[in-house]
Symmetry: C2
Subunit: 112 residues, 2 copies
Amino acid sequence: MLPEKDCSRAMLSIKDALEAVEGRWKLLILYSLCSGPKRFSEIGREVAGITDKTLAKELKALQANKLIKRDVYDTSPPTVEYTITKHGRSLNKVLYELWNWGLAHRKEVIGK
Amino acid sequence: MLPEKDCSRAMLSIKDALEAVEGRWKLLILYSLCSGPKRFSEIGREVAGITDKTLAKELKALQANKLIKRDVYDTSPPTVEYTITKHGRSLNKVLYELWNWGLAHRKEVIGK
DNA sequence: GATAGTACTTTCCCTTTGGAAAGCACTATC
DNA sequence: GATAGTGCTTTCCAAAGGGAAAGTACTATC
């Protein structure tokens, strides 16, 4: 499965992947964008509890990782739309495995 | 793939999984234990840069998640041995997917 | 001319995290 | 009797993270 010899390289990739997904908010934002492009305040409303500051920061991180894209339309006041990218959607397999293992983990650890 | 209706439940499992794996150290410790049971100071030596305090904390977290087990032998000074569990090994699939996606992610985002 | 809305940014402050270093109880060794 | 080693814990401190709330530049609306 995982290359034993090349452990440090594998760790690098795994860290990259974890970084793209870690934290309380990134997945929730991504989920929110699954149902279509949304604007800043829309996402803020859908992702319950997130502050403007945090939302702005997370959106930047997601952009930097090319999981979402940001489009500005020249209206007034300007409209900004966030869309999940193909790369963002490709996280699905990872999330599925995490979900799967997380279920087994719950059973194993919490027993419920 | 992922249940859309049951998004918040799925999120719970995913968070469980992420929590078990997140941070700079847990995977390194787990990797170190792949090659056989080890003692506290051995792990400390293998996982370069980790402090005693952090190692103790991470080992507790891994234990709580049943990814490793801790055995104390009644020698003097007492010997404590850490072993990866079957559940710990079952993380393999998740790590494989993370590794895989992480590789694609590197290509996509860093382009190298 | 006051208010509201958009997409953020900034400031303040508090909590958490994490490293460095020392401590500790015990024993074996020199 | 001093030193070393074991498996941690404790203390100190600095940096980072994150929420609350207000600010900003602009425009449209009443």
